[in-house]
Symmetry: C2
Subunit: 252 residues, 2 copies
């Protein structure tokens, strides 16, 4: 999308948004596939750029939005990692997902018209804010944008269904690691060595396990030479072996 908009001409409400390279920015965003291909209506495309608002930085434990906030926008993570979770009345946490750069957050707020969860920065996070009313309007003009929104929503259903299956701790953790690796790879990061930015307790909660179980399974994986763990850094040694463990979970 960016070749249309000279770098610097884009109104960036927050000067801290530091990626002067608009093209690179788009290539890591969930709308990149809409924006980048040639042939898209140039004028409307410009409108998409206009409604994007760079926001950040957020720091660890900062909220991008909170449960109950009126739903006004969806967000693309630009840098850092975001956790979505909800807290029930007893303060019990339920982690819904982790969001890497290029991924969208907040889509599940459309229906109730309120965000149904908190979005929390796990480290230093920058996001792009897409006003949803504006985006929906734009979607009526650019079918590709509408299509992409449908795809993003539909994909989220699939992800959620995957979590819902009843699987062993080994399957869950193997699938989790493979999923992270794949998502990192898709964004141009190493898929063989990466950092688990979130705490063990968050992983455990997300996978519906106890933190202790996560510890034990990671150790078992390491003993089987599937991975190497050092604190929050993970090295994938035998992706095929992991895939074998997760086979019942991945192909859907």
């Amino acid at each position: 999308m960016s070749e249309l908009v000279p770098a610097g001409k884009l109104p960036a409400p927050n000067p801290i948004a530091d990626d002067g390279d608009e093209l690179h920015f788009c290539s890591t965003c969930a709308f990149g596939s809409v924006c980048l291909p040639a042939g898209v209506d140039k004028t409307a495309l410009h409108e998409l750029h206009m409604l994007v608002e760079h926001v950040g930085p957020f720091h660890a434990d900062d909220a991008i939005f909170r449960s109950g906030d009126p739903f006004t926008a969806i967000y693309a993570v630009r840098a850092g990692m975001v956790k979505t979770h909800l807290l029930d009345d007893n303060g019990h946490e339920q982690v819904l997902g982790f969001h890497l750069p290029g991924e969208m957050v907040g889509l599940n707020g459309i229906h109730p018209a309120k965000y149904p969860c908190d979005a929390i920065a796990l480290d230093t996070v920058y996001v792009c804010r897409f006003s949803f009313p504006a985006l929906a309007t734009l979607a009526t003009k650019i079918p590709d944008v509408q299509q992409q929104l449908f795809r993003l929503l539909s994909a989220d259903i699939g992800k959620a269904m995957q979590l819902a299956g009843d699987h062993s701790a080994d399957e869950r953790l193997a699938a989790f690691l493979l999923g992270l690796a794949e998502r990192y790879a898709a964004r141009g990061f190493s898929s063989t060595a990466f950092r688990l930015v979130m705490a063990r307790a968050d992983i455990a909660n997300y996978l519906r396990l106890a933190a202790e179980t996560v510890s034990r399974v990671l150790r078992r994986f390491q003993d089987k030479n599937l991975i190497r763990v050092e604190g929050r850094d993970v090295e994938m040694l035998d992706a095929a072996g992991l895939r074998r463990l997760a086979r019942n979970l991945l192909p859907g």
Copy 2:
């Protein structure tokens, strides 16, 4: 023994297709809220009606669509009950959901462009078929239609997330029964007595439990006078009590 129903048989809300009356048809469909309100562009509304195709009857175990089929349409259940599930390579089943009259099926096929699951009739089923390309095109013309599609997709994410939580068998089953009651009520059927069209094994699979566990929990609920069970017919005796059991699952 409180005999609310003569002859010992609970009334089976048998949702029968109400063909012919277009208005009534709309009132039981997920797009009813779009179609019925006055003020919607009459011409476009007519188009929505035009792209609807009534299909059926399907009989128990018939497939409305199958996993891997190219995604071409979404379906509104008009009568009967539909189960969506997927079968892994080992023939292991995973039930994704049960769909009552007025509810949509197939939305999760948008992203992969193939249906990611089978949709199976549990009894005699009639559906409305919405060609998705046509619907998407229409959505660009009628914002309300687009909005409704977004809402439906977003709501599905919420439903899936609910399943994903880690909850006890009691919580799951209580929430399941309350959810069914609520959905029946929303469609004008009795919310205090209804029929579990699906087999115990299906319920169990859906809730990620063993069939035996479902049996045992239902019996326990009955012993506690929360419900009355007779084969596949259920009577809700103490919805408040059930809600108390499911409290950790519902408000999420």
